[in-house]
Symmetry: C2
Subunit: 211 residues, 2 copies
Amino acid sequence: MRTYGQYCPLAKALDVIGDRWSLLIVRELLGRGPLRYTDIRNGLPGVATNLLADRLRELEEVGVIRREAAPPPIATTLFHLTPRGEELRSVVRALADWGAPLLGESVGGDVFRSDWVRYPAALYLKDTTPDGPPLTIEVRTGDEPMVIEAADGTVRTRPGPTQHPDAVLAGPPKLVIGVIAGKVSLSDATARGLHYEGDPTVLGRLQPHAL
Amino acid sequence: MRTYGQYCPLAKALDVIGDRWSLLIVRELLGRGPLRYTDIRNGLPGVATNLLADRLRELEEVGVIRREAAPPPIATTLFHLTPRGEELRSVVRALADWGAPLLGESVGGDVFRSDWVRYPAALYLKDTTPDGPPLTIEVRTGDEPMVIEAADGTVRTRPGPTQHPDAVLAGPPKLVIGVIAGKVSLSDATARGLHYEGDPTVLGRLQPHAL
DNA sequence: CAGCATCCGCTTTGATACTG
DNA sequence: CAGTATCAAAGCGGATGCTG
């Protein structure tokens, strides 16, 4: 393993998880739970399969992930994060916080997975009315619908459609994410092609940072 | 610039500061302030000079650093962090936090700069008696002496010797850092070659996590 | 000397094909 | 499904040379 050879905690961390793709693998496991090899690869368009195999082996050696034979009837190996790997959540969050402003400059052509609305939802949304009734917003962008749920003061995101959403956000990722993050106003976004159903105020309940 | 091509804040951040050496350059500027090209290179043993020039240009393009002609009599260009670059402090801190446990496994041969005692000092020390008299500890390891100062409830680290330190820590980096981080007891460390002067209890005042 | 640019040998990466 | 094998291209590290 290539190393910086410095007695410094930052350099040591980068020795271990600073290689290309490593943190994105961790992101996949943090966001989606234990995954199969193929699932990870599908989440990382452009990764070479041999390189993915290498990275998984390295991450296993340093104790970030662990492979486990899934019980029947799955009969495949699942890649899990170890507790030590879970601790990378704060690292991923810090990097994602810092990188969020860069999304605005994206011109398109970037791959997008609907799973990723979890990030802006987790970073920018908060239930400002925790005592209010449960709230569900269906988000349709990318490959599959996602649902943002607010209940008991916390905001959660999960895949799948929902029965009677209080609002529906549909359109290209940039607009959807822009609206969720409060970077684009709802009126601007709808004028630029966003489809919105439901009471516009329900979104406002979740956007304390939108001003 | 090579890019992951993903519409994801983590991927975007890694596109920009995920290349080899980039975050270590930021570390140098975060820890030591504006620096000359040569100073940065000296802080990064092993970096190829053309690669350093490349990285500095890239970091400048993405708005992380800024080069500025220093006023006379210095007559050289200084590399500064921009406000956007300063925001990487939380990223560096998260990574350093995560990487700190890896220092224990280091076998030696790693480069060490005395500047780096700032990290364990900042991470593991806290003034448990903010109303007490000011406290200074001189640390002698690596190339130059450092001083850890506690006053008004905060702990600061700066280079240079001091006049009448309450304690002196001298010896190899692993022992010095181990003691500061509370991972090695003072008695163990002195038995293994650490030189300690002064009242042993002064160190205890700064180590709330040492137990 | 400070701040690079050029060249060269080596390693890593990315794309594709193939296998148990 | 979960990789290994192969190979061209890009990136990296080290040495050296150039310019103010």
